[in-house]
């Protein structure tokens, strides 16, 4: 399945396009997606520790703008947002 991962906050440093195109297996979960992002960072940023820390501390949100937990099953190609720790105001 194809995932368009939309980047926000600190994760914007992962790419200058504002998103990553990732490939995950059928019926993968958000947990698997998280690992796929870490693999991408290992490959493209030599496992940059601060980037990996961002991924590990992030939440994810669905196309419907709902927060989805690690055990959420991704059933189709879709857009998912990565939500690093927040701090507005």
């Amino acid at each position: 399945m194809k995932i368009k991962l939309e980047l926000f906050g600190a994760s914007r440093d992962f790419s200058n396009k504002g998103h990553l195109n990732l490939e995950i297996q059928e019926k993968a979960s958000v947990y698997d997606l998280r690992n796929e992002i870490i693999k991408y960072l290992d490959k493209n940023f030599k496992g940059n520790e601060s980037f990996i820390k961002v991924v590990k501390s992030s939440a994810f949100c669905s196309e419907n703008n709902e927060i989805i937990s690690d055990n959420y099953k991704i059933t189709k190609d879709q857009k998912i947002g990565i939500i690093p720790p927040i701090g507005g105001g």
Binding site: D13, S57, A59, C61, S69, I83, P84, I86, G87, G89
Partner: protein, 150 residues
């Protein structure tokens, strides 16, 4: 009555006058304006500006949820609330957020204003990248997003 908006700093600025127009009503006897502005020092570093990033749809949704909760949790039924948050680069002193509330009485207005800003800090997906005098910049650490289902 609620107004929410993400204001793109490249196109426009947050204006207190717009908030005043929106919340003004003779049925309300108390108004509170909260403004967040860009400060020149953070963690002993000299800040020259901040770039704000936002997941716009989720931010607007969180503002609406917070507004609706005020009715249930704080029992403030009659109210006008104006919330705008900036997105993009801001210079020192510029307004990053405005929360203007109008209620019948002052105790409600103060409570509501405080409730909204504290909930936004916990729940609205907004990020800050600080810029410093030595040309460096850094995304601020932040806190994991609070979500009841999470």
């Amino acid at each position: 009555m609620l107004h929410t908006k993400i204001v793109d700093s490249k196109k426009e600025k947050i204006l207190t006058s717009s908030a005043e127009k929106f919340i003004k009503d003779s049925k309300f006897g108390a108004s509170v304006y909260f403004l967040g502005t860009v400060r020149n020092i953070n963690d002993n570093k000299t800040v020259t500006g901040i770039t704000y990033d936002s997941h716009d749809e989720m931010v607007i949704k969180s503002f609406e949820e917070i507004y609706n909760e005020a009715h249930q949790k704080l029992d403030i039924k009659d109210k006008a609330v104006f919330i705008e948050h900036a997105k993009g680069h801001l210079n020192l002193g510029e307004i990053s957020i405005i929360i203007a509330v109008a209620c019948k009485h002052r105790d409600q207005a103060y409570v509501l204003s405080r409730y909204i800003i504290e909930e936004i800090k916990k729940r609205s997906p907004i990020w800050k990248k600080e810029h410093y005098e030595n040309e460096e910049s850094e995304w601020l650490k932040g806190n994991p997003i609070a979500n009841e289902k999470f």
